[in-house]
Amino acid sequence: MTEIILEIKNLRHSFNTDMEVLKGINLNVSRGEIVSILGPSGCGKTTLLRIIAGLENQSGGTVNISDTIVSDSKNFVPTEKRDIGLVVQERALFPHLTIIKNVEFGLKGRRDEKYKTALNLLKLFKVDVYANNYPHEISSGEQQRVAMARAMAPNPKILLMDEPFGALDHALKSELRDETKKIFKDNGTTAIIVSHDFEDAISMSDHVLIIDDGLVAQEGPAKDLIPITRNNSFKIA
């Protein structure tokens, strides 16, 4: 039986009393699975990701990571203790640290071990030649590779990605998506990708969740996802 890593039950969230952003989301993510959360701007997908990360505290419902309640009405495990990784569209690399130091940042242990792990990850993402450069000295595509290497370095239980390829051009996106998926699958990484891009979802994920107006409108295998060009949205066949 597949091990469930993330379990979300009846998740609700409102920023103020009269505006509910999430209206009862349920979601299960298995180990090694890549799940995409799709939906139009403002549908609540980024909020859902932030709640999973512990950067936002939900109004109701439960979030379980590896059979441990990390947030509900009584419990709240802070972000730094949830064992998750985060990749954001802006990359958010630490500008005062070199590339290798960025990747080492979340690692614990001996200095040489940290260096070795970080360098291996940089090799995996093909950016090891920039190990001693600073973030502003490399391109945005390379920065995104570093951001993913950094998030994977501590070997988190779940990797959360918020519009990870959003700021890249089409050709670079496609190349990076294929490489990333291969790395994730080879390493058995569990990932949740928030996106509004059909290509991101179909090429990267195993499972897709479409959120609309704070609710799960549809869910199913990524291969069944169909774009609707009329209104630039999607549906699952």
């Binding site: 932030r50 990360a53 512990g54 950067l55 802070p78 972000t79 730094e80 203790k81 949830r82 998750i84 990784g85 985060l86 954001v88 802006e90 990359r91 958010a92 690399l93 630490f94 500008p95 005062h96 940042f105 979340g106 614990k108 600073y134 973030p135 502003h136 951001a147 950094r150 998030a151 501590p154 988190p156 959360l160």
Partner: protein, 549 residues
């Protein structure tokens, strides 16, 4: 949740600081509700009206002066190109470096009956020595002139920034509606930046009514000299506090007006389509007028006092670096740097607490912490003195009578309360430049609290930290009344030395400490002029890569 907050160091520390900052002010205000002594009755019947009249006269005179100089020069350097503009646009800030009391001392030396300027006129035209060309300056008129020429940069600075951010289209529409260039200036240019002008003017007025050194030198009785003489002339601390409380109410009113203007200021340039003002080249008499209009304030507010100081220093006393000067300078820099470090560290802790805990109450508390900037040094000195006496009684009564009172602790506390706002504004904007996503990512990498602050934020705040220190250092070096009252016995600073020498009419001895004060005061001006350039819409900061990550 409430008890959890009580144990949270990121909430406890800002709350303690708030109490420490606010208690001296509350103490002063509370004096109004106590008994009134015979001295108060005397002051109320005979001198209070004089304090009020002089203070109001100086306020009105300074307002007119700073508005004409500040707004006029800001408009000229923003909308026109004329001879010397490139230098004048930053040189107009130079009088910021000259505290009003130093300009007052040098003006006395220059324009008194037997001052340098009158002597020069008599020598050139071979006039009898009874002949006096320049009128007396030791009066309310002289005080208003001194404040106008030292404080106009506040109005210039905010007006210039507002004009820079003003869209050309607004002014061009005015021209198409049949307005002349001058009409466009006063019918469109000024009204559209009015909130900014009022905000600058409120700062000028707060500085004006807080001043002690200049009005005391000109023997003009105002609230501040009244407080000083009630305390050290009548030895009536309570009456001094009551006078201070009245002044504080005026200051708080100005402060509220300033905050209100600032809030409105946000809406003054609300256009999405922005086209910057294209400066027009002036020729002939207009070119000369614009150059002179902008040169005169710099000359009177900066060049002239420095020529006089240099003249005194070179002609009378060449031993600039004598032992006394070195000791005084060391005392001053020691105090200033210590205060600057404390202010910067506190500002970092408070701003980090707000960012990290996202606590609304902390946000409100922090805005109160910056109010100290507006409280006159003399009033702060009164409040801090009382706080120290209270602490001494509480903690050291059994051992020694006074441990904290008369020590450097009081002086540093007063400086910190007064200068915190300067450090806070720089550190706050430094934090705002750090993308919140860095915090989010750092948290997922097992980094929070202290580690987040020291490993991520602090390295990114180095420039803000140093800038805030420079601003505080230059403020502390200039501060006179608080230093005068709270200093330990025989502990002189540059400002105190200047004051004492000037009070004894030993102007040539006052030159060295005055030049040192002006010299240090130039540092924040360099920062300010850089900030103005950066504030231009469309300016791209190539030095700072941090913003984009």
């Amino acid at each position: 949740m409430f008890y959890k907050n009580l144990l949270d160091p990121w909430i406890i520390l800002p709350t303690i600081l708030f109490a420490l900052f606010v208690v001296p002010v509350i103490w002063i205000i509370s004096s109004l509700f106590g008994d009134y002594s015979d001295n108060w009755t005397h002051i109320y019947n005979y001198t209070l009206s004089n304090y009020i009249y002089n203070t109001i006269f100086i306020i009105i005179g300074t307002s007119i002066g700073t508005l004409i100089i500040g707004v006029g020069s800001a408009w000229l350097v923003t909308t026109y190109n004329f001879t010397g503009k490139n230098i004048l646009e930053w040189a107009l800030l130079l009088p910021f470096a000259v505290p009003p009391y130093i300009l007052a001392y040098t003006f006395t030396g220059l324009f008194d009956s037997y001052g340098t300027a009158n002597n020069l006129i008599r020598d050139i035209f071979s006039l009898p020595h009874e002949f006096i060309f320049f009128p007396k300056l030791r009066n309310v008129y002289g005080a208003a002139i001194v404040f106008s020429f030292t404080l106009y940069p506040y109005v210039y600075l905010v007006s210039r920034m507002a004009f820079i951010n003003q869209s050309r289209s607004i002014l061009e529409v005015g021209r198409t509606l049949g307005f002349s260039k001058f009409q466009v200036f006063y019918k469109l240019g000024i009204p559209s930046i009015r909130p900014a002008i009022i905000a600058g003017l409120m700062l000028v007025l707060m500085e004006t009514i807080s001043d002690f050194g200049a009005v005391e030198h000109f023997s003009v009785n105002t609230f501040t000299t009244g407080i000083f003489s009630a305390w050290f002339g009548l030895y009536d601390f309570h009456t001094a506090k009551q006078l201070a409380a009245l002044l504080l109410i005026v200051v708080i009113t100005f402060l509220i007006l300033e905050k209100y203007s600032r809030r409105k200021n946000r809406y003054s340039s609300g256009s999405n389509v922005f086209s910057p003002i294209a400066a027009e080249k002036l020729k002939g008499s207009k070119n000369i007028f614009a150059s002179l209009f902008c040169t005169i304030p710099v000359f009177i507010g900066f060049v002239l006092p420095n020529i006089q100081l240099a003249y005194w220093a070179l002609n009378y006393k060449l031993d600039f670096f004598n032992e006394k000067f070195i000791t005084t300078a060391w005392n001053t820099f020691y105090l200033a740097i210590l205060t600057a470090i404390i202010c910067a560290v506190l500002a970092i802790i408070i701003n980090f607490s707000i960012r990290y805990r996202k606590n609304k109450i902390l946000n409100i508390l922090s805005s109160f912490l910056t109010v100290g900037y507006a409280v006159p040094g003399l009033i702060l000195a009164l409040g801090v003195s009382q706080l120290l006496v209270f602490m001494d009684n509480l903690l050291f009564r059994e051992y020694l009578e006074f441990v904290l009172t008369g020590s450097l602790v009081g002086l540093i506390l007063a400086f910190v309360i007064k200068s915190f706002a300067l450090a806070n504004s720089t550190i706050e904007s430094g934090f705002l430049r750090i993308n919140n996503r860095l915090d989010d990512v750092a948290k997922t990498l097992n980094t929070s609290g202290w580690k987040l602050l020291t490993q991520i934020h602090l390295p990114l705040l180095t420039t803000s930290f140093l800038t805030s220190m420079i601003l505080v250092v230059s403020e502390v070096i200039k501060e006179l009344p608080a230093s005068l009252i709270l200093r330990p016995f025989n502990y002189d600073t540059l400002a105190i030395s200047t004051y004492i020498y000037a009070a004894e009419e030993r102007m040539f001895d006052a030159a060295a400490p005055s030049i040192a004060i002006v010299g240090v005061g130039l540092l924040p001006i360099i920062i300010l002029s850089r900030l103005i350039v950066k504030s231009r819409p469309g300016y791209r900061n190539n030095d700072n890569h941090y913003q984009s990550y």
